[in-house]
């Protein structure tokens, strides 16, 4: 709107400054920048400044968050990189990330496929599928512990009814706590994936399927030849951002096990949280955060290189 009524003089100068062969007029760019500006401003204010603060903090020796501190250079980084517990936490984060990605993608995909129908079940399911996602994490955490409690939880009772006895809450077992948390977290988040995939499916024009049907393609072929490739851009975005998102989840884990039993569920973000708010080593936590961000950035870069859909550019 504002782009088009720009002052003509300025426009002329800018036009001349640009190569004559440039395809898009600069008013379009101006509009483009204006459209992107709110997002960038928000991110700079809400994420950028605190991030800068974290980087600065990582070169200091602050203990309790917000207490006095002095500059110590790279000391914290040396300690962070040499800390075996940190690398163990990164390893657990890898398991957490892959586990969540696989479980959630599979459930979400299946869900998106089955809730699309026209039957009564399908129509109702499109609403109730969202329920697990709408429950605040605080409640999800407590409810699953309650459901799996050995004394009054319905899950062990149901299991013993079908012959599996002595099942207790998996969250107290070092070997089972991580898989159990992944399942709980997936239960909480899979509707997001389902909604996104379902929305993307609806963007695919019906004519394409019509054509496939005329050609005699069966459902399986239609899915792999048409649905899947067309969904790729959305799946790519979901996979990338979704993974980064789940990597940084603290609340689901912290509320249930606090990283226990015996560190079995201490992922990198939980490790950072503990450092900052339980060990009161804010600067160490900041250094570990920065290292983690760099690792994630490398991972994301790699993922983009490998998985970016061809149609994109």
């Amino acid at each position: 709107m504002s782009g088009r009524s720009a002052v003509p003089g300025v426009q002329g100068v800018a036009l001349r400054a640009r190569a004559a062969g440039h395809r898009r007029p600069w008013t379009r760019h101006l509009l483009g920048y204006a459209l992107v500006a709110p997002l960038v401003l928000l991110m700079v204010g809400v994420i950028g400044y605190p991030l800068l603060n974290t980087v600065l903090l990582s070169f200091q020796d602050q203990g309790v968050v917000g207490s006095n501190s002095t500059y110590v250079g790279f000391e914290n980084y040396g300690r962070a990189l040499g800390d075996g517990e940190f690398w163990a936490a990164i390893g657990r984060s890898g398991i957490w990330l892959v586990g969540n990605l696989v479980v959630q993608t599979v459930i979400a995909f299946v869900t998106a496929l089955v809730i699309g129908g026209n039957g009564r079940w399908a129509r109702a399911s499109r609403t109730w599928t969202l329920f697990p996602w709408v429950i605040p994490t605080v409640a999800v955490a407590v409810i699953w512990q309650w459901l799996s409690n050995s004394n009054y939880g319905v899950v062990p009772k149901a299991a013993s009814a079908v012959g599996i006895d002595g099942l207790g809450s998996p969250f107290g077992d070092s070997a089972l706590a991580m898989p159990a948390l992944i399942l709980m977290n997936s239960w909480h988040w899979f509707p997001l994936g389902a909604v996104v995939i379902y929305g993307a499916m609806r963007t695919i024009p019906g004519e394409i399927y019509e054509a496939a049907r005329v050609d005699g393609a069966n459902a399986w072929r239609t899915f792999w030849r048409i649905t899947f490739p067309l969904l790729q851009p959305v799946l790519f975005a979901l996979g990338l951002v979704g993974s980064l998102w789940s990597f940084n989840i603290v609340d689901s884990i912290y509320l249930v096990t606090k990283g226990g039993p015996a560190d079995a569920t201490t992922t990198a973000p939980v490790f950072i949280y503990n450092k900052a708010f339980n060990e009161f080593q804010a600067s160490d936590a900041a250094a570990v955060s920065v290292v983690t961000i760099i690792l994630l950035a490398a991972l994301a870069f790699f993922y983009i290189r490998v998985a970016r859909p061809k149609e994109d550019q």
């Binding site: 782009g3 088009r4 898009r24 379009r28 760019h29 509009l31 483009g32 204006a34 459209l35 992107v36 709110p38 997002l39 928000l42 991110m43 204010g45 809400v46 605190p50 974290t54 299946v110 869900t111 089955v114 699309g116 079940w121 399911s125 609403t127 599928t129 329920f131 709408v134 429950i135 605040p136 605080v138 407590v142 309650w146 459901l147 004394n151 009054y152 997001l192 909604v195 996104v196 929305g199 993307a200 499916m201 609806r202 963007t203 024009p205 019906g206 959305v234 979901l238 990338l240 951002v241 973000p269 950072i272 900052a276 708010f277 804010a282 900041a286 955060s289 983690t292 961000i293 950035a297």
Partner: protein, 276 residues
Amino acid sequence: MTTALRWHRVPRLLAMAALTVMVLGPLYWITMSAFKDREEILRSTPTIFPEHPTLENFRELFTATDYPSYLTNSFIVALLTAFFTMLVSFAAAYGLYRLRIPGGNKVAGLILVAYMIPGTLLLVPLYQVFAKVQLVDTRNALVIVNVAFTAPFCTWLLRGFFFAIPRDIDEAAAVDGAGPVRMMFRIVLPLLRPGLSTVGVYAFVFSWTEFVFASQLLVSDDLKTLPIGLSAIMGQYTVNWGLLMAGTVCTVIPAIVPFLFAGRYFVGGLTAGAVK
């Protein structure tokens, strides 16, 4: 022929059954438990249906807690978050992926950085930012934070949806003499409706369940949102399970209301969609 067809449907039916049990099973249990008294809810042999159904938990929820106030706050924050997220992310995605501004790729990359940061350490500096602009303890602060965290993801999501819209439409419209603004609202926006409703739902739910920022940035009791109220029920040292279940039910049900109203855009309106 008919048997073949039926066999074909088995995986689908199995998936439907599994999904139903997985989602509705726990929810059934939560709901039933909300109607049990304090003794029955802890019984070692659980009852499938409450023996003495009671409304006591709900009565306590409405009298002892500020539930109506939590609900109002949650709705205001969530609706505003959804609206502004749609606005901001649609605008940004249009600029980045349709107008293709120079440097757009860098911006898109930067957006990703937002999700690489372990949020823990952002809390304290963020509070300071809001304190400086006098926004601590306001709903607006929550809306701003929520949008700042949802909009980048939503911009990325919309990217996929933009690519699904054939580019020829633009060219055709350009030939017809439509300017970029008109093109944005008249042609692209309607086609993006599934994407935008997805974004809206996402932002709404994000805000509805958001706990950490809300509990940091809000101080006054009369501004608190549902997740804060819910976590307050699980106090230190002791848990009133029935009250917690009632609270959960009353957190989930209202969140569904907007979906029912927006159903036309979100889950209904399948006529143009893929699956018939």
